[in-house]
Amino acid sequence: MADALSPAVFHILLALATGDRHGYGIMKEVLRQSDGRVRLGAGTLYGTLQRLIESGHVAEAPRAGPRTFNGRSRRYYRITMKGRDALNGDVARLQSLLKAARVLRAANGVAK
Protein backbone atom coordinates (compact mmCIF):
# COMPACT_ATOMS: atom_id res chain seq x y z
CA MET A 1 0.00 0.00 0.00
CA ALA A 2 1.26 3.49 -0.84
CA ASP A 3 2.42 5.86 1.90
CA ALA A 4 -0.17 8.34 3.09
CA LEU A 5 0.27 11.81 1.68
CA SER A 6 0.08 14.70 4.11
CA PRO A 7 -3.18 16.68 3.83
CA ALA A 8 -1.44 19.68 2.26
CA VAL A 9 0.31 17.51 -0.34
CA PHE A 10 -2.91 15.66 -1.14
CA HIS A 11 -4.92 18.85 -1.65
CA ILE A 12 -2.24 20.51 -3.78
CA LEU A 13 -1.85 17.47 -6.05
CA LEU A 14 -5.63 17.20 -6.31
CA ALA A 15 -5.92 20.87 -7.26
CA LEU A 16 -3.24 20.46 -9.93
CA ALA A 17 -4.80 17.27 -11.29
CA THR A 18 -7.37 19.33 -13.19
CA GLY A 19 -4.88 21.70 -14.81
CA ASP A 20 -1.91 24.01 -14.42
CA ARG A 21 -2.36 26.66 -11.75
CA HIS A 22 -0.42 29.43 -10.07
CA GLY A 23 -0.06 29.52 -6.29
CA TYR A 24 -3.12 31.60 -5.54
CA GLY A 25 -5.13 29.53 -8.02
CA ILE A 26 -4.15 26.40 -6.06
CA MET A 27 -5.34 28.01 -2.81
CA LYS A 28 -8.69 28.92 -4.37
CA GLU A 29 -9.12 25.47 -5.90
CA VAL A 30 -8.35 23.74 -2.59
CA LEU A 31 -10.94 25.95 -0.89
CA ARG A 32 -13.48 25.10 -3.59
CA GLN A 33 -12.80 21.36 -3.61
CA SER A 34 -13.11 21.14 0.16
CA ASP A 35 -16.30 23.25 0.31
CA GLY A 36 -14.47 25.94 2.22
CA ARG A 37 -13.17 23.59 4.95
CA VAL A 38 -9.48 23.64 3.99
CA ARG A 39 -7.70 26.99 3.77
CA LEU A 40 -4.08 26.61 2.73
CA GLY A 41 -1.94 29.48 3.94
CA ALA A 42 0.60 30.95 1.55
CA GLY A 43 3.60 29.88 3.64
CA THR A 44 2.35 26.31 3.91
CA LEU A 45 1.47 26.21 0.21
CA TYR A 46 4.81 27.42 -1.13
CA GLY A 47 6.83 25.37 1.37
CA THR A 48 4.97 22.24 0.30
CA LEU A 49 5.27 23.19 -3.36
CA GLN A 50 9.02 23.55 -2.95
CA ARG A 51 9.28 20.04 -1.50
CA LEU A 52 7.04 18.63 -4.24
CA ILE A 53 9.19 20.26 -6.92
CA GLU A 54 12.35 18.90 -5.30
CA SER A 55 10.89 15.41 -5.20
CA GLY A 56 9.66 15.57 -8.81
CA HIS A 57 5.91 15.38 -8.05
CA VAL A 58 5.27 18.89 -9.37
CA ALA A 59 7.07 20.90 -12.03
CA GLU A 60 6.97 24.48 -13.14
CA ALA A 61 4.75 24.74 -16.21
CA PRO A 62 6.05 26.43 -19.35
CA ARG A 63 4.35 29.76 -19.89
CA ALA A 64 1.64 29.56 -22.52
CA GLY A 65 0.84 33.26 -22.72
CA PRO A 66 1.21 36.66 -21.10
CA ARG A 67 0.34 35.64 -17.58
CA THR A 68 1.16 38.67 -15.55
CA PHE A 69 0.06 40.16 -12.28
CA ASN A 70 1.15 43.51 -10.88
CA GLY A 71 3.62 43.72 -13.74
CA ARG A 72 5.29 40.54 -12.52
CA SER A 73 4.97 37.21 -14.23
CA ARG A 74 3.08 34.47 -12.46
CA ARG A 75 4.63 31.04 -12.12
CA TYR A 76 2.36 28.16 -13.01
CA TYR A 77 2.74 24.68 -11.60
CA ARG A 78 1.94 21.33 -13.17
CA ILE A 79 1.54 17.85 -11.71
CA THR A 80 4.00 15.29 -13.09
CA MET A 81 3.42 11.62 -13.82
CA LYS A 82 5.10 10.77 -10.52
CA GLY A 83 2.75 13.16 -8.73
CA ARG A 84 -0.26 11.66 -10.48
CA ASP A 85 0.83 8.17 -9.43
CA ALA A 86 1.23 9.31 -5.81
CA LEU A 87 -2.21 10.95 -5.89
CA ASN A 88 -3.87 7.88 -7.43
CA GLY A 89 -2.18 5.67 -4.83
CA ASP A 90 -3.49 7.81 -2.00
CA VAL A 91 -6.98 7.96 -3.47
CA ALA A 92 -6.98 4.16 -3.67
CA ARG A 93 -5.81 3.99 -0.05
CA LEU A 94 -8.59 6.34 1.07
CA GLN A 95 -11.18 4.35 -0.91
CA SER A 96 -10.00 1.19 0.79
CA LEU A 97 -10.22 2.84 4.20
CA LEU A 98 -13.69 4.17 3.44
CA LYS A 99 -14.83 0.74 2.36
CA ALA A 100 -13.51 -0.79 5.57
CA ALA A 101 -15.21 1.93 7.62
CA ARG A 102 -18.55 1.34 5.88
CA VAL A 103 -18.31 -2.39 6.51
CA LEU A 104 -17.58 -1.70 10.16
CA ARG A 105 -20.48 0.70 10.51
CA ALA A 106 -22.81 -1.76 8.78
CA ALA A 107 -21.66 -4.53 11.09
CA ASN A 108 -22.37 -2.38 14.12
CA GLY A 109 -25.80 -1.49 12.77
CA VAL A 110 -25.04 2.22 12.65
CA ALA A 111 -25.32 2.71 8.90
CA LYS A 112 -28.80 2.97 7.42
Binding site: M27, G43, L52, R75, A86
Partner: protein, 154 residues
Protein backbone atom coordinates in the same frame (compact mmCIF):
# COMPACT_ATOMS: atom_id res chain seq x y z
CA UNK B 1 -5.35 49.76 5.56
CA UNK B 2 -4.61 47.01 3.01
CA UNK B 3 -1.42 48.75 1.97
CA UNK B 4 -0.37 48.98 5.61
CA UNK B 5 -0.97 45.24 6.11
CA UNK B 6 0.91 44.44 2.91
CA UNK B 7 3.86 46.53 4.09
CA UNK B 8 3.96 44.62 7.38
CA UNK B 9 3.73 41.30 5.53
CA UNK B 10 6.60 42.33 3.24
CA UNK B 11 8.74 42.81 6.33
CA UNK B 12 7.66 39.46 7.77
CA UNK B 13 8.49 37.65 4.51
CA UNK B 14 12.08 38.80 4.92
CA UNK B 15 12.34 36.57 7.99
CA UNK B 16 12.09 33.40 5.88
CA UNK B 17 15.33 31.61 5.00
CA UNK B 18 17.18 33.09 2.04
CA UNK B 19 16.52 30.29 -0.47
CA UNK B 20 12.79 30.19 0.26
CA UNK B 21 12.55 33.97 0.16
CA UNK B 22 14.43 34.20 -3.11
CA UNK B 23 12.13 31.67 -4.76
CA UNK B 24 8.72 32.66 -3.41
CA UNK B 25 8.77 36.16 -1.89
CA UNK B 26 7.10 37.86 -4.86
CA UNK B 27 4.36 35.24 -5.00
CA UNK B 28 3.80 35.45 -1.25
CA UNK B 29 3.45 39.23 -1.42
CA UNK B 30 1.19 39.17 -4.49
CA UNK B 31 -1.06 36.49 -3.00
CA UNK B 32 -1.32 38.38 0.28
CA UNK B 33 -2.34 41.54 -1.54
CA UNK B 34 -4.96 39.79 -3.69
CA UNK B 35 -6.38 37.84 -0.75
CA UNK B 36 -6.52 41.02 1.38
CA UNK B 37 -8.47 42.84 -1.33
CA UNK B 38 -10.85 39.92 -1.74
CA UNK B 39 -11.42 39.62 2.01
CA UNK B 40 -12.04 43.36 2.29
CA UNK B 41 -14.48 43.36 -0.64
CA UNK B 42 -16.33 40.35 0.73
CA UNK B 43 -16.71 41.28 4.40
CA UNK B 44 -15.10 44.62 5.13
CA UNK B 45 -12.71 45.28 7.97
CA UNK B 46 -13.82 42.27 10.05
CA UNK B 47 -13.12 39.82 7.22
CA UNK B 48 -9.83 41.54 6.50
CA UNK B 49 -8.72 41.21 10.12
CA UNK B 50 -9.79 37.56 10.11
CA UNK B 51 -7.69 36.91 7.02
CA UNK B 52 -4.71 38.70 8.54
CA UNK B 53 -4.99 36.60 11.71
CA UNK B 54 -5.00 33.38 9.65
CA UNK B 55 -2.14 34.64 7.48
CA UNK B 56 -0.08 35.50 10.56
CA UNK B 57 -0.69 32.07 12.15
CA UNK B 58 0.33 30.38 8.91
CA UNK B 59 3.36 32.63 8.67
CA UNK B 60 4.59 31.63 12.15
CA UNK B 61 4.13 27.91 11.51
CA UNK B 62 5.72 27.98 8.06
CA UNK B 63 8.56 30.19 9.29
CA UNK B 64 9.56 27.61 11.91
CA UNK B 65 9.13 24.77 9.42
CA UNK B 66 11.29 26.42 6.75
CA UNK B 67 14.04 27.34 9.20
CA UNK B 68 14.09 23.77 10.52
CA UNK B 69 14.77 22.62 6.97
CA UNK B 70 17.93 24.70 6.78
CA UNK B 71 21.27 23.40 8.10
CA UNK B 72 21.58 26.35 10.47
CA UNK B 73 19.49 25.09 13.37
CA UNK B 74 21.52 21.89 14.05
CA UNK B 75 24.76 23.80 13.50
CA UNK B 76 23.78 26.52 15.97
CA UNK B 77 22.60 24.02 18.56
CA UNK B 78 25.81 22.04 18.22
CA UNK B 79 27.89 25.21 18.38
CA UNK B 80 26.06 26.32 21.53
CA UNK B 81 26.66 22.96 23.21
CA UNK B 82 30.34 22.94 22.23
CA UNK B 83 30.75 26.57 23.32
CA UNK B 84 29.35 25.96 26.79
CA UNK B 85 31.40 22.78 27.23
CA UNK B 86 34.68 24.30 26.06
CA UNK B 87 34.12 27.51 27.99
CA UNK B 88 33.34 25.73 31.26
CA UNK B 89 36.20 23.27 30.83
CA UNK B 90 38.68 26.05 30.07
CA UNK B 91 37.49 28.25 32.91
CA UNK B 92 37.68 25.44 35.46
CA UNK B 93 41.07 24.26 34.21
CA UNK B 94 42.69 27.67 34.10
CA UNK B 95 41.33 28.82 37.45
CA UNK B 96 42.64 25.72 39.16
CA UNK B 97 46.16 25.93 37.72
CA UNK B 98 48.70 26.02 40.57
CA UNK B 99 51.27 27.98 38.55
CA UNK B 100 51.43 31.69 38.11
CA UNK B 101 51.45 33.22 34.68
CA UNK B 102 54.87 34.58 33.77
CA UNK B 103 53.56 38.00 32.85
CA UNK B 104 51.66 39.78 35.56
CA UNK B 105 49.99 43.14 34.85
CA UNK B 106 50.66 45.83 37.42
CA UNK B 107 48.32 45.67 40.36
CA UNK B 108 47.05 42.19 39.51
CA UNK B 109 47.51 39.27 41.85
CA UNK B 110 48.33 35.93 40.29
CA UNK B 111 47.58 37.21 36.74
CA UNK B 112 43.79 37.08 37.03
CA UNK B 113 43.38 39.28 33.96
CA UNK B 114 45.57 36.97 31.92
CA UNK B 115 43.59 33.97 33.08
CA UNK B 116 40.47 35.71 31.90
CA UNK B 117 42.07 36.41 28.54
CA UNK B 118 43.08 32.77 28.14
CA UNK B 119 39.58 31.59 29.08
CA UNK B 120 37.93 33.98 26.66
CA UNK B 121 40.36 33.15 23.86
CA UNK B 122 40.09 29.40 24.16
CA UNK B 123 36.48 29.24 25.28
CA UNK B 124 35.03 31.69 22.75
CA UNK B 125 37.30 31.80 19.73
CA UNK B 126 37.53 28.02 19.31
CA UNK B 127 33.73 27.51 19.21
CA UNK B 128 33.36 30.45 16.79
CA UNK B 129 36.01 29.01 14.47
CA UNK B 130 34.39 25.59 14.84
CA UNK B 131 31.00 27.02 13.89
CA UNK B 132 32.42 28.67 10.78
CA UNK B 133 34.26 25.52 9.72
CA UNK B 134 31.18 23.41 10.45
CA UNK B 135 29.02 25.71 8.33
CA UNK B 136 31.45 25.52 5.41
CA UNK B 137 31.55 21.75 5.71
CA UNK B 138 27.73 21.60 5.79
CA UNK B 139 27.44 23.69 2.64
CA UNK B 140 29.98 21.48 0.86
CA UNK B 141 28.08 18.40 2.05
CA UNK B 142 24.76 19.79 0.83
CA UNK B 143 26.25 20.65 -2.54
CA UNK B 144 27.52 17.09 -2.94
CA UNK B 145 24.16 15.62 -1.99
CA UNK B 146 22.06 18.13 -3.93
CA UNK B 147 20.93 15.45 -6.35
CA UNK B 148 19.32 13.44 -3.58
CA UNK B 149 15.58 13.99 -3.59
CA UNK B 150 13.20 13.84 -0.66
CA UNK B 151 9.72 12.40 -0.88
CA UNK B 152 6.61 14.42 -0.11
CA UNK B 153 5.39 12.12 2.65
CA UNK B 154 6.59 14.34 5.45
Amino acid sequence: MIAWGAAVYDVLVRLYPFEFRRTFSEELQDDFMVASCEASDAGGAAALCGFWARAFADFVVSLVREWLRTPWVPILLLAAAVSVTVFMFTALTVSSLPVRFPVRPPGERNGEALKLIVVMTVGVLIPICGTILGSLWMFAFRRRTASRRRGPHV
